[in-house]
């Protein structure tokens, strides 16, 4: 019997936009797969790539980092720093053979509940197809 693989996804979301967008998804009852676990930070600029690495280490099959749209950062420019840092880190993940689809950086405004649901749905589908990361198996 082959049961469908259900990936574990970590969501690292900024409080002002992406997390609020996830709240909005709830308020508008947008439906998306239950694979994501969300950690709230104040700004996407707070998100250290080690959070992503540790998530993979502890069982995540994919990680979503989401903040305010470029130009809309509640803290002026935190999301630019997130963008720069994760551009570098994504290249490193890729070089170590961690499929680029396992990490996603995106922007979600507080009003974009539907968009948040779509992003999570897309990512879940991709990771289902990709299978488990198996970071623990040596």
């Amino acid at each position: 019997m082959s049961e469908r693989f259900e990936p574990n996804i970590l969501g690292l979301l900024c409080s002002w936009c992406a997390y609020t967008g996830a709240d909005t998804a709830g308020v508008s009852r947008a439906q998306y797969p239950a694979n994501i676990r969300i950690v709230r930070v104040m700004c996407s600029g707070r998100i250290d790539p080690i959070f992503v690495a540790r998530a993979f280490e502890h069982g995540a099959d994919g990680v979503l980092v989401a903040g305010c749209h470029p130009g809309d950062c509640h803290y002026v420019s935190g999301n630019h720093f997130a963008q720069d840092r994760f551009a570098t880190f994504a290249r490193i993940l890729d070089f170590f053979g961690i499929d680029e689809r396992r990490f996603r950086l995106d922007w979600v405004s507080g009003a974009e509940g539907a968009r948040f649901a779509t992003i999570v749905s897309e990512m879940t589908e991709e990771l289902r197809a990709l299978g488990p990361l198996k970071m623990k198996v040596s």
Binding site: I38, G45, R54, G59, G78
Partner: protein
């Protein structure tokens, strides 16, 4: 009878009343709030979402409700009404009638056993009579106070509730009784109602046809706590409607069919309802039948365009009548005003955007207060232009829907303004000191003892998530020593139980598994604080917004995920440490930037509140646009006259120190202690002033239209501001034919905004032109006629009769062109109603130019560290409930630098900004952000990788010690520097690496995936 004395009485506790009361209470004044209903919240809490941000209405209102109920300076009386107000400003003697609810508020726990026992079903008015409640009831789940009320009109007196009540809170012997109080000032914020078109506009079938609803009823249908739990269904048969239509202006903008005024909010709420409907159920057809689409607020036009892009259909039309079909669908007969043809169309459900009407109690209250109402029953200001917030009796002020249709941000702004004006008679009174923070329990040496409180949120969580399973799982988590579930964790009763559990079990961490920490975190933090538990020791697991609501189709997965989220929160809790918000003294003076109407009125209000104010104006004279404009609406007051009055008033106030011809050069510091460098320019002085707060009132400018519509090339093509100057100075000459083109440069890709006030200016200036040139041919080219502001619709109708301009509707996608001819100018326009191109001869073309924020905005926003949009209008902290605040603490805004507005609105806003800015000044202290970054010096290697990441200038390098330093008052707590630090030497309090990693590393502890 004992007489209590208060500083201010606030009548009505909707969003306006709540805001006014909080603004005064925060200043240290003692406020009595009297609300007619059993719960505070007003109309806003009935709404599903709010435009244009789609914020959940109750979610943003509920924290204010709780804050109000808890405020030490506020006394709240619900189910009460004001009977009589004697005396005068400074000493009003007020008689209040307290209606008994037969329930002892001290004893009621809000458990609801009484309602379950009650045998009487009553139409639920909160839900627009679309569902039923009991004769003993709570208005809505988040009601404040959360105390059941007996609806005496429907109660049969059977006593079932009394027998069911565990704490014996019900007593039929409780009597209504009068109460006497004194107050120095009064604010009237009694709100509005929406017309129920059973008589007026009965041709639309409301009350006769089951599937014809008012928009307010439809809000309840959309609401998750509404009669259909947020599912869109028809009242007649519970089926999901496929085709829904909205009819606009039902009872508005019609002398014969209702009320002559524009209800101002309907275009946007209908757009919102249609948009949300299509987001809920994308297959639903949503059609809006409208006259003019008045999307004239900030970001409204974009919201409307988004709705249209999402498939909401807009039909410019005149709906004639509605008939019901055998399947209880309805057929609407309407004339399409763009094509001039009649149509019949069927809809499963029809929503009527009905007129905003005054509360029926207004006339009685007007008598009790001895203040005036207008013909319709709205309270009237004693001077609609200069003093829009003053009722006709000294010391009584007006805010929100009580004086006419207003949206939420305008209501909030007026409420702040009324609070500012109402504070003036209080200037000499002693203020209550800010309450000492409750003593905190020292917990650092204790082993972690976490309490977990799981909320069912009625059915919102409990309907999909197995709350018992979550509760059980929580018990097994490390460090957890107490777990409890509740129906509504945010209810007052549940809060009491949380406090009791903390005390009884010595809990030193609290995790609430409920809804969003953004909306409800502060409520629970306050609860913890009341029993000595620091706010930093509290954490939420958002199992409603992230589980039950979004995985309602997969209850098993939703439950598993809820358990994971609770585990993560508990793991984080173990790592949490107390957060202390530092208190800083406040420099007691204020600075106002901009000496136009907004800036002058803000300074006047501040000075009269007893605050020393610096008023800075770039030009050598005060007045701003008053130096250009000819006349002002309403009342046709000469701008020069208002300018003289205001400048004189400013000069009379020794508390106002003027800096004319002065620019702001540099701003440093923070709320409580800003240092501002003022430069008087060449030959002048450079001054540094220290202030505690600042108000930005820099106004607007016309967009540059050079090269368009012949502007800049043809001297006879001018803008409205230039026309105003001609009218003012009498230099217009005798034009024979004037063409006015509205929306020049608006509603287009580069500037999608509607300037809001352009139509009103056009109406005003057409009348002035008629006076100046009685025989001239006057033409008005418009896209939509969006006249804005109280009394403006009537003014507009009158203008049409008197001036009889040629009106041509064009589409901004195909704007008119202006060409020079030998004899003058020629305007070519495609008339969308005649569907033909017209050519108009003119010797004067007046462009109602798009409006933008001041040209200095981009420079000033950098200094202020605040944000502005692409049109140079400043961004407020929150579009709905914080319209006068910047995100940067201690800085406020008012007037047209936020968005173009009328003089009356500007006056109100300026008073409001003054009220906001006065709060820290009168409190005398501010608390600093608690979740700031900190340096652990023993780990910092001084590499400086973090320095660039700070957008607030809070970081610097101590070259001597090779250490990074953080100035905590400047830190906003984003944590961007923390993620830049490779060694972990920087940490963000409340969001430390160990806290976040604890969540990340426990997220899948229970998972089976390998």
């Amino acid at each position: 009878m004992q007489t209590q004395s208060y500083d201010t009485l606030v009548i009505g506790a909707g969003i306006s009343g709540m805001q006014a009361a909080l603004d005064l209470a925060e200043k240290g004044y003692r406020v009595l709030v009297v609300e007619r209903q059993a719960s505070i919240g007003g109309t806003m809490v009935k709404l599903d979402k709010t435009f244009p941000t789609n914020d959940c209405a109750i979610c943003i209102a509920a924290p204010k409700m709780v804050e109000l109920a808890r405020h030490p300076n506020i006394t709240l009386l619900t189910s009460a009404r004001v009977e009589q107000v004697k005396g005068s400003v400074g000493n009003f003697e007020v008689t209040i009638w307290r209606q008994t609810t037969y329930v002892d508020p001290e004893l009621c726990t809000g458990c609801g056993d009484c309602a379950r026992a009650c045998p009487v079903d009553v139409d639920d008015t909160f839900n627009g009579r679309l569902s039923q409640r009991k004769a003993i009831y709570l208005q809505f789940p988040q009601a404040v106070p959360a105390i059941y009320t007996i609806d005496y009109a429907h109660c049969t007196g059977c006593g079932a509730c009394d027998r069911a009540c565990g704490p014996r809170a019900i007593s039929f012997l409780r009597r209504s009784r009068p109460l006497r109080v004194t107050a120095a000032s009064v604010i009237v914020a009694t709100g509005f109602e929406l017309l129920e078109p059973t008589e007026l506009r009965k041709e639309y079938g409301f009350g006769r046809f089951a599937n014809v609803l008012t928009a307010l009823q439809y809000e309840r249908i959309l609401s998750a706590s509404g009669p259909s739990d947020g599912h869109i269904t028809r009242p007649s048969d519970g089926k999901v409607p496929q085709r829904i239509a909205w009819i606009q202006c039902v009872g508005s903008r019609s002398e014969q069919g209702g009320y002559p005024y524009c209800s101002k909010i309907c275009c946007m709420y209908a757009t919102k309802e249609a948009l949300i409907t299509r987001e809920h159920a994308p297959d639903t057809e949503a059609t809006i039948f409208y006259m003019d689409l008045r999307a004239y607020g900030k970001d409204f036009q974009q919201y409307y365009e988004r709705a249209a892009a999402h498939g909401v259909r807009y039909v410019r039309s005149r709906p004639a009548m509605v008939s019901e079909n055998s399947d209880q669908s309805v057929t609407l007969t309407y004339a399409d005003t763009l094509t001039g043809t009649m149509h019949h169309e069927s809809f499963d459900m029809l929503v009527l955007s009905t007129a905003v009407v005054p509360s029926p109690d207004n006339r009685r209250l007007a008598q009790a207060l001895d203040i005036a109402v207008d013909d319709h029953g709205f309270f009237v200001p004693r001077d609609p232009l200069r003093e829009p917030l003053h009722a006709t009796r000294e010391g009584i002020f007006l805010a929100g829907g009580a004086q006419g249709p207003n949206d939420i941000p305008d209501s909030v702004a007026q409420a702040c303004g009324a609070a500012g004006r109402a504070a003036i008679p209080l200037a000499t009174r002693t203020r209550a000191k800010p309450p000492e923070p409750p003593a905190e329990r020292e917990v650092s040496d204790e082993p972690t003892r976490t309490g977990v409180f799981v909320c069912s949120c009625g059915k919102n969580i409990g309907g999909f998530v197995d709350v018992a399973a979550v509760t059980e799982a929580a018990q097994t988590l490390p460090g957890v020593s107490f777990v409890e579930s509740s129906t509504f964790a945010c209810s007052e009763d549940a809060q009491r139980r949380i406090r009791a559990a903390i005390d009884a079990n010595g809990l030193n961490r609290v995790v609430v598994a409920a809804c969003s920490p953004i909306t409800h975190g502060p409520v629970f933090q306050q609860t913890c604080a009341e029993v000595g538990l620091n706010a930093g020791l509290f954490e939420m697991a958002n199992i409603r917004n992230q589980c039950s609501w979004v995985h309602s189709g997969a209850p098993g997965a939703a439950t598993t995920k809820s358990i994971d989220l609770v585990r993560m929160a508990v793991a984080r809790a173990d790592q949490m440490r107390p957060l202390t918000a530092q208190m800083l003294p406040v420099h007691p003076d204020c600075l106002v930037i901009g000496g136009g109407v907004a800036g002058m009125n803000a300074a006047l209000t501040l000075a009269d509140m007893g605050i020393n104010t610096y008023l800075v104006e770039r030009e050598p004279i005060l007045g701003g646009k008053l130096n250009t404009l000819a006349t002002l609406a309403p009342g046709d007051v000469a701008a020069s006259e208002l300018r003289e009055q205001m400048v004189h008033a400013v000069q009379q106030r020794p508390r106002i120190k003027l800096f004319l011809g002065t620019e702001v050069r540099e701003i440093s510091g923070h709320v409580g202690d800003f240092r501002v460098t003022l430069d008087e320019g060449i030959g002048g002085e450079i001054n540094e002033v220290r202030v505690g707060t600042m108000i930005v009132a820099t106004g607007f400018r016309e967009a540059n239209l050079h090269g368009r519509y012949g502007y800049g090339n043809e001297p006879r093509v001018i803008t409205q501001l230039e026309l105003e100057r001609h009218l003012r100075e009498g230099t217009l000459g005798q034009p024979r034919s004037v063409v006015m083109i509205n929306c020049a440069g608006s509603l287009e890709a580069e500037n999608p905004n509607c300037c809001r006030i352009g139509c009103g200016i056009a109406v005003k200036n057409l009348r002035r032109l008629r006076e100046a040139a009685p025989t001239a041919k006057l033409s008005l080219l418009y896209h939509d006629l969006r006249v804005y502001g109280k009394g403006q619709e009537e003014h507009f109708t009158q203008m049409l009769r008197e001036v009889e301009p040629l009106r041509v509707r064009y589409d901004t996608a195909r704007p008119p062109t202006v060409a020079a001819t030998q004899s003058g100018l020629e305007v070519t326009v495609y008339d969308t109603l005649l569907r033909d191109e017209l050519t108009l001869e003119a010797d004067l073309v007046v462009l109602t130019a798009a409006l933008r924020g001041d040209s200095e905005t981009s420079r000033l926003k950098q200094m202020l560290k605040v944000a502005a949009n692409g049109q140079d209008f400043y961004n407020e902290a929150h579009a709905k409930i914080r319209p006068l605040d910047f995100n940067t603490e201690g800085i406020y805004l008012c007037g047209s630098d936020h968005y173009p507005r009328t003089i009356a609105d500007t006056m109100a806003q300026a008073a409001g900004a003054a009220s906001r800015a006065a709060i820290p000044l009168l409190r005398g202290e501010v608390s600093v952000e608690a979740i700031v970054a900190e340096v652990q010096p023993e780990l910092c290697s001084g590499c400086g990788l973090c320095l660039d990441s700070c957008a607030y200038g809070a970081m610097s390098m101590d070259a001597l010690q090779n250490l990074v330093l953080i100035e905590e008052v400047l830190c906003k707590g984003c944590g961007t520097c923390v993620a830049a630090c490779p060694s972990g030497a920087l940490q963000q309090r409340g969001f430390t690496d160990p806290q976040l990693l604890a969540m990340i590393e426990t997220a899948w502890e229970g998972a089976t995936n390998e």
